[in-house]
């Protein structure tokens, strides 16, 4: 009897304490505008969120390699103002929810600036987390237009969907003289649907005709005969494949088998990989796509990057994200270098906003007065039989409007 009443009292106390604490805690919507982090000690922490597991892994691994390469280079050269850069990596498991958790963890571990992600969906979530804490975010491959609306300090080193699609549309219509183009879109990847949409709109505005659009799901499809047979029936001059190279290769290879020959294949930077030539085979030689840089360019940044990458990892970057991640880390470090006084999230964000004409691997990057979206040039390249990318035409941001 005595024991039971003791139990009641104890539980009552727990309840009372809980209510009191709960009332004071309460819930708040939109905390907004955090104070950020200040680097202390003899190292400056930068965070990277990448998909090291899950179906985005090839891009995640590549972006991790790119960032790590730059951080190691900086540290070997003595760091920034005598302080070492410490890289914290968080895995997003290809999932926006877990990506956000990883971001929160990096921030709570003291990251001054966060880099990543490749996929726009995950980046959107990271942008929300970073904005709430007042941490600047440098996105690597998120091309979706509305990412930068999430907060004042959201930067990216890639171009946007609303630029890449029109560039290819313009190239197809004016340079290749294609009047009838069909689209093939990966419905599962926001990148692909966004790119297809911007291509479609601009191409129609130029006066071209979109004859058909076929869909598939990345990872779920093995045979594309059905879509290709449909396309063939519509008699296009060219086909715009907005997905990743993992599906583009098989599609083009199978297209030649169902007799869809004599058409030009085009795509976006999702094509960039040393493996596309192996999966696409002979049929993809002569395909055009929009890229950030080409390994055939003679800019010193490209050469230096590729040499350093091969020296460290014994192979060339698997996707275009290697170079973009390297650039993202580079602009972050550049901004940290530019800071006078305490290295804090606020000062780094300020420095990023003032960054001008940084010579990146993927082209010149300027954030000053651009609200985080650097006006970048796009390079249309042609795939050669030996797998190299021959630069064909460069487009400045002002070329498509």
């Amino acid at each position: 009897m005595k024991r039971r009443s003791f139990l009641y009292i104890a539980l009552g106390a727990v309840f009372g304490a809980g209510i009191l604490a709960g009332c004071s805690g309460g819930g708040s919507s939109e905390s907004g505008g955090g104070t950020g982090t200040t680097a202390t000690g003899d190292s400056i922490k930068i965070g990277l969120v990448a998909s090291l597991n899950g179906d985005q892994r090839p891009w995640g691994v590549d972006s991790e390699r790119g960032v790590r390469l730059l951080v190691d280079q900086i540290n070997e050269a003595g760091g920034v103002n005598g302080k070492k850069i410490e890289l914290l990596v968080g895995d997003s498991n290809s999932d926006p929810q877990i990506g956000k958790s990883a971001t929160e963890k990096l921030i709570s571990d003291g990251a001054v600036v966060v880099l990543g992600e490749v996929a726009s969906g995950i980046t959107a979530q990271m942008a929300i987390a970073c904005t709430e804490k007042g941490i600047p975010l440098v996105a690597i491959g998120a091309t979706r237009d509305d990412i930068s609306d999430k907060g004042p300090d959201i930067f990216r080193v890639c171009y946007r969907d609303s630029f890449q699609g029109p560039v290819m549309a313009k190239f197809a219509f004016e340079e290749l003289g294609l009047k009838r183009v069909a689209l093939m879109t990966d419905k599962k990847i926001p990148y692909s649907t966004g790119l297809s949409n911007s291509f479609r709109d601009y191409y129609a505005m130029l006066g071209g005709e979109i004859v058909d659009e076929q869909f598939y799901e990345g990872g779920a499809s093995t045979q594309f005969n059905a879509q290709l047979t449909n396309l063939k029936g519509k008699n296009p001059d060219g086909v715009f494949l907005s997905g990743y190279f993992t599906e583009v290769g098989p599609i083009v290879r199978q297209a030649s088998q169902v007799g869809l020959t004599n058409v030009k294949f085009m795509g976006g930077d999702g094509w960039d990989s040393k493996e596309i030539i192996n999966s696409g085979g002979e049929a993809i030689v002569g395909g055009y796509f929009c890229n950030h840089y080409s390994d055939q360019e003679d800019r010193p940044e490209v050469k230096a990057f590729l040499d350093a990458f091969v020296a460290k990892y014994n192979e060339r970057p698997g996707t275009t994200m290697g170079a973009l991640a390297y650039d993202a880390a580079a602009v972050a470090v550049e901004a940290i270098k530019a800071v006078t006084g305490d290295v804090s999230s606020k000062s780094v964000a300020g420095a990023l906003h003032n960054l001008e004409n940084y010579k990146g691997v993927s082209g010149d990057i300027t954030f000053k007065g651009q609200g985080g979206n650097p006006p970048k040039r796009a390079l249309v390249v042609e795939l050669q039989a030996d797998g190299t990318q021959k630069p064909v035409k460069a487009y400045a941001p002002t070329d498509v409007k």
Binding site: E217, N225, N230, Q257, N262, G281, D386
Partner: protein, 395 residues
């Protein structure tokens, strides 16, 4: 306008493509059927959904990739010899053998200790094994960037079987020749212009040169249009040799399987175990050996499907490569009546044709949902699947 054409106009159906699409569907379905057989056999014997089957498929594809590298078709190789069917056969056998071994190992280490436990526990183990193979595989197997098997290993890559159903209009041949001559002239003009201007690429031409290039482009489009019109004047079925080989091999393997199950002693034992596990063991059937054999055969079939998909279709391999084919094949197995071997084949073919027809009708964005819609519809009317029995379990 009769109802049929009105309907066709509304949906924009292209009936000239229909025969080709049906063939496409059967080609697609044959691979589903091959993987589905593994699910259905394991289910028949153990009443277990082998969730790791898709990962066995993935490992089979990787095995084919490694053999192709060993044969000299590595991603970095520049000079490649003429391939032959022997190479393909070696890859096929290697994939099948390795998959069979992996299947047996999974059964031995993950499922056998669970056999006396509730089935749901084995199911979770299966999910665990499946996740393990995906994530641990990603640590050790080449997957970033995803690796394809080079097409040069397939000696039949440029050959296509053509079955004419309706002859083409031969008057187009002359017209095409005329167009091609015009195109060649325009092309020569562009080349000459590039010489005179001294530019390497046609994209660097001066405005006058660009006009020439535009004419050339228009001529090229005309040639393409004419050629495609010529092709569309007749109806013929196109079957790439690679996919034909896939279909024939799949068919042959299924017939061999049927022979094993129906006419051999282990096959009879397999059927006995599937009918009643405990009684079979009382009748002197070595149940463990039969279960191992079932896993080996089912996994070998998945290996064959994996090798052929990876080789002939040019797919890029990641360790998540097996998930979706696995799920599709699982649906096919249930559609046909899980545990029923002809059912798996029927289910696979039906799903292949259904998916293709959905794409044909212009709703390609719903292609991956149709399998499940059909499944639910069929199960509502035949709860045991198309060929399965739907007995209510007795008390």
């Amino acid at each position: 306008m009769d109802l049929g054409t009105a309907f066709a106009a509304g949906l924009q159906l292209d009936f000239a493509n229909l025969p080709q699409q049906l063939v496409n569907g059967i080609l697609l379905g044959s691979i589903y059927a091959l993987i589905a057989l593994g699910y259905t056999m394991v289910y028949g014997v153990l009443r277990l959904i082998n969730f790791a089957h898709g990962e066995v498929f993935m490992l089979g594809a990787y095995m084919a990739l490694f053999v192709s590298w060993w044969l000299g078709y590595s991603p970095t190789a520049t000079t490649l010899g003429q391939s032959s069917w022997v190479n393909l056969l070696m890859m096929l056998v290697a994939s099948m053998v390795v998959c069979a071994i992996i299947g047996m190992l999974i059964e031995l280490f993950a499922y056998r200790p669970m056999r006396s436990q509730p089935r749901i526990a084995s199911l979770i183990t299966a999910i665990g094994v499946s996740l393990m193979l995906q994530y641990a595989g990603a640590l050790f197997l080449p997957n970033s960037p995803p690796q394809p098997i080079r097409e040069e290993i397939n000696p039949y890559r440029n050959e296509v079987l053509q079955i004419p159903l309706k002859p083409r209009d031969t008057t187009f041949i002359e017209k095409i020749k005329v167009e091609e001559a015009e195109f060649n002239a325009a092309e020569a003009a562009v080349k000459a212009r590039m010489e005179t201007e001294g530019v390497k690429s046609e994209f660097d031409l001066s405005p006058e040169g660009r006009l020439l290039r535009e004419t050339r482009n228009d001529e090229r489009n005309d040639v393409t249009n004419m050629k495609s019109e010529y092709e569309r004047s007749g109806v013929s079925l196109l079957i790439p040799y690679g996919q034909l080989i896939m279909f024939v091999t799949a068919l042959a393997l299924m017939l061999i399987l049927r022979h094993i199950v129906m006419n051999t002693k282990p096959g009879r034992a397999m059927r006995a175990v599937s009918l009643d596990f405990d009684s079979a063991s009382l009748m002197g059937v070595n149940v463990n050996r039969i279960v191992t054999l079932t896993f080996a055969i089912g996994s070998a079939l998945a290996g064959a499907g994996a090798m052929m998909s990876a080789t002939f279709l040019g797919l890029s391999l990641t360790t998540f490569f097996g998930v979706q084919p696995g799920v599709k094949a699982f649906v096919a197995a249930v559609l046909g009546g899980i545990g029923n071997i002809p059912g798996a084949v029927l289910g696979g073919l039906l799903m292949g044709v259904a998916e293709t027809l959905v794409v044909w009708s212009g709703y390609g964005d719903y292609k991956d949902a149709i399998a499940f819609v059909i499944l639910i519809a069929v199960l509502l009317f035949r709860p045991g699947g198309l060929l399965g029995s739907s007995k209510v379990e007795k008390v």
